[in-house]
Symmetry: D2
Subunit: 100 residues, 4 copies
Amino acid sequence: MRVIADLCVVPLGIGVSVSKEVAACERVLSEAGLKTRLHAYGTNIEGEWDDVFAAIKRCHEVVHAMGAPRISSTLRFGTRTDRGQTMDEKVRSVEEKLAR
Amino acid sequence: MRVIADLCVVPLGIGVSVSKEVAACERVLSEAGLKTRLHAYGTNIEGEWDDVFAAIKRCHEVVHAMGAPRISSTLRFGTRTDRGQTMDEKVRSVEEKLAR
Amino acid sequence: MRVIADLCVVPLGIGVSVSKEVAACERVLSEAGLKTRLHAYGTNIEGEWDDVFAAIKRCHEVVHAMGAPRISSTLRFGTRTDRGQTMDEKVRSVEEKLAR
Amino acid sequence: MRVIADLCVVPLGIGVSVSKEVAACERVLSEAGLKTRLHAYGTNIEGEWDDVFAAIKRCHEVVHAMGAPRISSTLRFGTRTDRGQTMDEKVRSVEEKLAR
């Protein structure tokens, strides 16, 4: 089962700056071979369900190991059985309607 | 790693009523032995990381099998290494502050 | 336009314990006359759109005033034009399916 | 109060394809003069609190007017009082850590 997800990891107890931890998660996701795209409030992720969720677990493990005692993350995740769809196709589909 | 999560499963392509599918997810989660609490915009879930996420995958599989061609879910999920904390403790902690 | 929402306010830069700030938001929401229900990962809110979102803004103002330099919140929010629906009806609709 | 938000609008009851409605929201947001950036699972939005939330309300009104009887949206939204920060700065801050 393919999934397109959008992850936002929020470490607590380490002050206001969390970009170092977010960067570590980016590395975890790309080392897992997943297709990702960073944006201003999270990261798009595309891949097989088990690969995506194993990498998300690894993100929490890594951010805890960096010193964050608490993490509160949010995830949007979508699956479909009617047809395959990539992150790029999702964006293009909206942009085509905008161009009309 | 223990996790407290909050899941909201939104099936698309089956009309406006989704309570049958949400009920099916409730069954999946409780059959997985997880502690859950249904509310008006999702379900609190508490358990070991792998158990929680295996059950969430099963929710998507079951809702697709019920006929939904597309699902867009959202999840909040929190872990902490400083101490254990249950769903009940989280609520009680806020209610104690409210009582003062 | 009526809205049913689910709010989770996460203050950053004040340590791992955030229950005092969450309790302050509960007070803001109930002083605004909104129907609310606290759960382990957020708060259900029901009311008119403008009232709900004015109270959410007030939550951010109050939590900043309590000393949190940064807040990262998440919100689910649903509207419908086919019929009215309350938080209680949403929960009951799922529970009826579970009882079968 | 400036806010950086991330909006994902999910119309229900109109089938599996929702790109036309998402495109309509993009138009609403840009006509409101807000800075936005579409990604594969939502749209980043930057602006003054009242402008951002007025535009989000308009999105729901427009998508209902297009025929969707039900909408279930999700929003991440962040404010900070310690310093200003733009969407571009948030992304750059992570990318700088990745480059090291």
